[in-house]
Amino acid sequence: MNTILIVDDEAHIRMLIQQTLEELEDEGVELLTASNGEEALAALQSAKPNLVFLDVMMPKVSGFDVCQRAKRDLGLSSTYIVLLTAKGQEFDRQKGYDSGADLYMTKPFDPDALLAKAREVLGI
């Protein structure tokens, strides 16, 4: 079963991504959410999702840290991680690469592009 993890400290963004990907649920994809880095790490460890939409700017554990720990410490090298950063926000591209992310998308995101990416990664 395909699983997508949505991580963002802002509830409305989580909801929007969920809503965007909702139609995938009908195709058997499970959508999980986490509202901070720690929850995200727990969900990564237990559910081992295929795809993660991961916000960068979060209190305590940032998206960079989550990504790095998932890829390096949790051995989730096959988990596709999309970093989401707000447009206009200072974004350390090198840090993003170093953390092992597979893709960067900016917010406000294009819902159609996000859904298409999910379909592409999951192969559905």
Partner: protein, 527 residues
Amino acid sequence: MAAARLGQIIGPKGAATRLVQDLADALHTPIVIEDAAGRLLHGDRTEPNVLRHPITSGGSDVGWVTGPDRVRPLAALVEHLLAREVERRALGTEVLQLYREINLIYSFSEKLAALLDLEGVARLTIQEARHLIDATDGAVLLLDEDTGALATIAGFGDSLPHLTGFTRGVGIIGSIAASGVAEIVNDAENDPRRIKDGTGVRALLCAPMKVGERAIGIIALGNTTRAAYTAAELKLLNTLALQSATAIENARLFERTIHAALERERLLAANKVVEVARAKLEREFELAATIQADLFPATLPALDGYDLAARNRPARQCGGDYYDALPIAAVAESTRVLLCVADVSGKGMPAALLMSHMQATLRALVGRTESLPLLASQASDLLYASTAPNRYVTAAFLDLEPASGRSRFVSAGHVDGLVAGADGSMMRLTSTGAPLGLLPPGLPYDETPFTIEPGDCVLLYSDGVVDAQNAAGEEFGDERLLAHVRASFDQPAAVIVERVIAEIDRFAGDTPQFDDITMLALRRSMT
């Protein structure tokens, strides 16, 4: 979809799964919940003849609660939970749609910022509008603020972009351009303002593109299949129209700036060409001035008992004044000399050319005519034959026999000459005939005979001397001329000439020299 929702509420991870189990325990009865397709969502299938209570959503059965009659309220509870879930999802869909719009507007702004051409902005606008709002036709029309005409610069579809002839206030689109208020026209075919029939457009959405209070164009979307647009869609189009209007204004400004820069460059290039031509002309003028200067006598003849000086100062590089002093060879028994001061009509290069003509004519004729009036007459005929009717020369001729001082004077329409007598007297040498080359051949010239007594000073000059003006518009005049000549009466002729010219300059002050100045002074010694 609702069936899937049911699975999410009651399924293994469903929010209500635990609640249902608690209720089953409380009611001491097994509860079975299955969806419309017969998939088991909760409990275990038991004996077949128990009651099935339908769960309905949106008017159709989406599942069943199976159990004794007392579990019937559970079906109602699940229905309620399902309705809430459906509502939540509907809200979510709406929010997502709004988010999608925000994102598109955001990216529209970004794309607009990168465009600097009018057509590009219009194309992007109509493309984005089409992406956001369901339409079969669309057009961006720009308003010509002078004529009020609306011209389509971008569009799509078979009908709308091909319509022409809209002007401010005429037709549905023209009316909206005039009112400046966005509008939904859901019965376009029957709208009283319409000027086009059979367009097939049923519903129309029009938003003015405004910069401040000024409408600079219209975005129109039309639909040939759909009958109605909504207020939300109008609001969206209005937002696009506003952003687009600003971008179009910027593009226009940019175009104007570019145009102005190109025009400036073109003018600079043209200026350079003119400058090169001017420099060339300048060089030619300088050359002409040099050539002309050579036409004046290099030295004046030395006359025993006389002191002769002359000076010419043109107002421009080349002048139309001329003076000469030529021995008259034909009369060999006594040495006589012809003095001449002439002034050619016009100024600059044409005058200079005529002056050279005059010089050649005079030098050819001198000594070959019986008298001074005849010389003047022949010179006039020759000039008349070879110049345009409006070209002529005024000239003063003095035929002097130095030994006796006997002189004959002929003036062809020239400004008066003066004879300042040693005794303090003054005689004017006035005109004795018409200017040379002005009138048809055969003109008679009179001559004025007089004698230059010892100490007398004869002044021949061009009108540039007496007509010289100061800032107040006063003329130098012959009174001043005479006064200055008298003041330097004991000086050599050359000094008199230089002083008079210096006095003219002092008199004129900052007023630029308007006319050529030529002056010739002849003084007979006292002894």
